[in-house]
């Protein structure tokens, strides 16, 4: 009995951290055909409702995929694309805001969320040829890649 209470206490103690981890920084909301996520070398087919984590690479072949981040920022990725989510911080209370996406190749749409509203300088979209400084609110990018 006592052991069980201990486990319970432990579970409660670690629950918030575990949950935050499980939640990721964005969710897959729209999917046409198939798209994939690469997490530390592991390639996995995406499904609607699946979380995306910081430093994940999202990849498409013939499909497209739409993601909504915790701050309401939306990114949708067209076919034959490869995009890395480099940084995401959304903690307005502690003034911690960051949004950095690297387009390796392909097509992408960006629609700004709360991070861009509170701190436009915290949002950057990198590509191999140039960086996009975003002052709102919706744009498209196409990158040839290697």
């Amino acid at each position: 009995m006592r052991l069980r209470i201990c486990w319970l206490a432990l579970a409660v103690l670690f629950a918030p951290a575990a949950m935050a981890e499980e939640d990721g920084v964005a969710l897959v909301k729209v999917l046409e055909g198939s798209a994939f996520t690469i997490q530390s070398g592991d390639r996995q087919a995406l499904e609607v409702g699946q979380p995306i984590f910081r430093s994940d690479v999202v990849e498409t072949a013939s499909g497209s995929v739409g993601l909504t981040f915790k701050d309401g920022t939306r990114i949708s990725i067209g076919p034959n694309s490869r995009i890395e989510l480099k940084e995401f911080e959304f903690s307005p209370k502690d003034n911690k805001l960051a949004f950095l996406v690297h387009i390796i190749k392909g097509t992408m749409q960006y629609i700004s969320g709360v991070i861009a509203k509170l701190s436009p300088e915290s949002v950057r979209i990198e590509t191999p040829v140039a960086t996009v400084v975003v002052r709102g609110t919706r744009f498209l990018a196409k990158v040839e890649g290697e």
């Binding site: 609607v48 739409g66 949708s76 990725i77 307005p92 629609i111 040829v129 744009f139």
Partner: protein, 213 residues
């Protein structure tokens, strides 16, 4: 007749773009705008047009009009002067990305009686609308953020804002909220709708923002 001409034009320009047979480069320049590295500014769903700046070591270029685009030939070449694209050019390259745009977030603002976590009557009447809105989202998520005005100490307000957010969640759960992903947080007195001096009562700032995404 116009139709035939346009089709022929499309075929020729496709050949010019893809086959790199640039016969009349100036004439087909705009038709090739989707090739290479391109950035296009679009109006958002409310018709608002922001601005973007494309920057590399060779230069920078800013656009702030709907459908303006910037090409970048390479990392050592400066971003080119803006060109305006038409819908057909945009759809040809970006239809996949545009078709998978997730539904945009929607925020409801609920107000409170001064110094309490009690919703105003008017805000209570808004609750059913929140439930209706949730149904329109795929894998709906919700954030509940509490705010106060600047009457009282900042620390006390941070706690009150959190209490407001939590009591809103409880109220929604009692009313049948079953969402798996709900975040509750407090911005205290730091994120007002109407900025005021310290210790000024402002009913509009005493609120909880419920955002569905």
């Amino acid at each position: 007749m116009t139709m035939v001409f346009r089709t022929v034009q499309t075929i020729i320009s496709s050949v010019a773009c893809y086959g790199r047979i640039v016969l009349l480069p100036l004439l087909f320049l705009s038709a090739c705008a989707g090739q290479g590295n391109v950035f296009v500014l679009l109006p958002d769903e409310n018709g608002k047009v922001g601005s973007i700046e494309v920057v590399n070591d060779a230069g920078r270029q800013k656009i702030d009009q709907a459908n303006q685009s910037i090409k970048v030939a390479g990392v050592t070449q400066a971003p080119e002067a803006p060109q305006t694209l038409d819908e057909a050019q945009i759809n040809k390259v970006w239809s996949g990305a545009i078709q998978t745009t997730p539904r945009g977030p929607r925020t409801f603002i609920l107000n409170f009686r001064s110094g309490t976590d009690q919703l105003t009557e008017e805000s209570i009447r808004q609750l059913p609308g929140i439930f209706e809105e949730i149904k329109t989202y795929t894998v709906a998520e919700m954030s509940i953020v509490g705010h106060t005005d600047r009457v009282g100490r900042a620390e006390a307000n941070a706690a009150l804002a959190l209490k407001r957010a939590e009591s809103t969640r409880e109220r929604l759960v009692e009313a049948g909220l079953e969402l798996k992903r709900v975040e509750v947080s407090s911005h205290g007195e730091n994120n007002p709708v109407i900025p005021t001096a310290d210790n000024v009562a402002e009913p509009k700032n005493r609120r909880v923002e419920v955002t569905i995404r």
